[in-house]
């Protein structure tokens, strides 16, 4: 069987002070187990624009990395055609030897405030704490196959996958395809992950893990914890989940992940 996928698109991004505009189009073919791809037809420069990000920060914090992206893509697979528009934000903020990772512009003020108050010395994680949605979203891909029995890890319905199929709700046997580029062979994996739990009430006075300080290592997270007075780095190993709030926010982790406030 021969499968042909086409993609053309434009992306504009600010990467650490440099404006980059890219236009590309290409075709990917899978036949008899062999994946091939090549550029197909070039078009003019992208018509997209993006404003230079201006982000006010508290004293004592510096931006280590800032990448803001806006892209439009048109896809074709067999008799299906669809388009999508993506906006991404990635920033790392530094204070001393602590680096906070941020993937949503709206999270910057809250994380920058905690980072400014942060001690440099790592402390033990409190036995009970909350994860903010940006932290829990990063955790969800690591929970595939490992989610505790009191929660249900699901692929949420919505959007189109890498072969032009509707993304459907699923709990296993992941039916949809992830294809972030025409140069990458599509794979089946969960998209738009979310976590359901019968308990949705969150105790607001528990210390809050406000940001990741490093990419996850399995179910172990190095996070910035804010207990309302102090902020400090700590390492948390997720072994149980007590509650997951109903309100969710999407983050670009794995094939997409809906973070929600979570209680451990």
């Amino acid at each position: 069987m021969k499968e042909i996928y086409r993609k053309r698109g434009s992306v504009v991004r600010w990467e650490n002070g440099t404006l980059v505009r890219v236009t590309e189009s290409g075709v990917a073919i899978e036949e008899d187990g062999v994946f091939t791809c090549h550029p197909e037809r070039s078009e003019g420069p992208p018509a997209l624009s993006i404003a230079h990000p201006a982000i006010p920060l508290p004293d004592g914090i510096r931006i280590e990395r800032l990448i803001v992206t806006h892209g439009i893509a048109h896809h074709e697979f067999e008799d299906r055609a669809w388009s999508d528009e993506t906006k991404r934000f990635h920033m790392s903020l530094v204070k001393g030897s602590i680096r906070a990772l941020i993937d949503r512009a709206e999270d910057v003020p809250r994380i920058a405030d905690a980072l400014q108050r942060a001690e440099q010395q790592e402390r033990n994680a409190p036995p009970r704490l909350r994860l903010s949605p940006n932290v829990s979203a990063a955790l969800l891909p690591a929970l595939v196959g490992l989610a505790p029995p009191n929660v249900e890890l699901l692929q949420a319905a919505g959007g189109i996958d890498g072969k032009g199929n509707a993304i459907v709700e699923a709990g296993d046997h992941w039916p949809n395809w992830y294809r972030p580029s025409y140069r990458i062979r599509p794979i089946r994996m969960p998209l738009n992950l979310c976590l359901r739990c019968d308990v949705t009430g969150i105790e607001p006075d528990r210390p809050l893990a406000v940001a990741l300080l490093a990419p996850l290592d399995g179910l172990t997270m190095r996070v910035l914890i804010d207990d309302g007075r102090n902020a400090y780095p700590a390492t948390v190993r997720v072994t149980r989940i007590d509650a997951v709030a109903s309100e969710t926010v999407w983050y670009p982790y794995g094939g997409g992940s809906f973070g929600a406030e979570m209680m451990l």
């Binding site: 440099t18 980059v20 505009r21 590309e24 187990g33 062999v34 994946f35 791809c37 550029p39 420069p45």
Partner: protein, 283 residues
């Protein structure tokens, strides 16, 4: 001032002698005061160079391995890379060296790990097959990229790190990156046997990867194959800050290490890596 960069790349993945993936990529980036404007335009001469090089590498693909071959022709020159994996271990080599390097890889992969990982702190580590270049890449090269102060080296050791502005594709922002790390020892260097003393040594044969954390100046090395006390150790990690690396001795000419693909800001670039047999210890 306007800078124009053109590139073409052909890469293929071969599994046990069978082609499973083949990609062609090409494009142009125009960098001026407004930024970078890039498109996937085609330079036929660069594409033809890639196709010639990939054809040459196909003839050399080992039939019992996972092999990625990459031919790159750009404004910066032509490069050819072969990444060969056998039994979970891998090397990065070139058509000129693939036969010797695969022989080395097969020899290392022929011995199974046994027993537990050991705590490497305080034990003399003998870096063989040029693998000390990976340690120096992380501890000296990346620190230079970040404009951090050099660490003190023994007077008999010279580490040359070539830095230049490089980029992986036409879509990328060029960055100051390493192109080569070459370490040489002088005649006054304590020989490896003298440097280790009488106790057991940890002999590093292949390194799976490394990382440098500029905020804490921490070096992390994932050791793929190492011997200790007459046994092959399971893969393990060495993590230390730069100031805790003690270089005890070195001997011989620089040895080309088959395997440094350096990733920074998502851009993977091959870095030439050469070092003599070197002895270190971490506190």
């Amino acid at each position: 001032m306007t800078d124009i960069f053109r590139i073409a790349t052909r890469d293929e993945l071969w599994l046990h002698g069978r082609l499973v993936e083949s990609r062609l990529s090409h494009g142009e980036a125009i960098h001026d005061e407004r930024g970078i404007t890039a498109a996937d335009s085609r330079d036929d001469a660069l594409v033809a160079q890639c196709e010639r090089e990939i054809e040459r590498m196909r003839e050399l693909v080992p039939k019992d391995a996972r092999v990625r071959i990459v031919a790159n022709a750009s404004s910066d020159g032509v490069s050819t890379t072969m990444t060969v994996g056998i039994a979970g271990l891998s090397i990065v080599t070139s058509p000129e060296h693939v036969a010797n390097d695969v022989e080395l890889l097969r020899g290392v992969a022929a011995i199974e790990p046994e027993g537990e990982v050991i705590d490497a702190r305080g034990i003399p580590i003998v870096w063989r097959n040029g693998s000390a270049a990976v340690l120096l890449h992380e501890a000296i090269g990346h620190a230079m990229e970040h404009e951090q102060a050099p660490i003190e080296l023994p007077p008999w050791l010279e580490v040359g790190v070539a830095l230049r502005v490089r980029r992986a594709t036409f879509r990328d922002v060029p960055l100051l990156r390493m192109s080569d790390v070459i370490a040489r020892c002088g005649a006054a260097a304590p020989a490896a046997r003298a440097a280790v003393g009488g106790g057991p040594t940890l002999d590093v044969l292949l390194v799976a990867g490394g990382m440098y954390e500029p905020l804490t100046q921490t070096v992390t090395l994932r050791i793929a194959a190492a011997d200790y006390d007459s046994r092959r150790l399971p893969p393990f990690e060495i993590r230390t800050t730069r100031d805790r690396i003690e270089i005890l001795g070195a001997e011989g000419d620089p040895i080309r290490y088959p395997g440094v693909v350096c990733s920074r800001e998502g851009q993977e670039l091959v870095v030439g890596s050469f070092a003599p047999v070197m002895v270190t210890r971490f506190a």
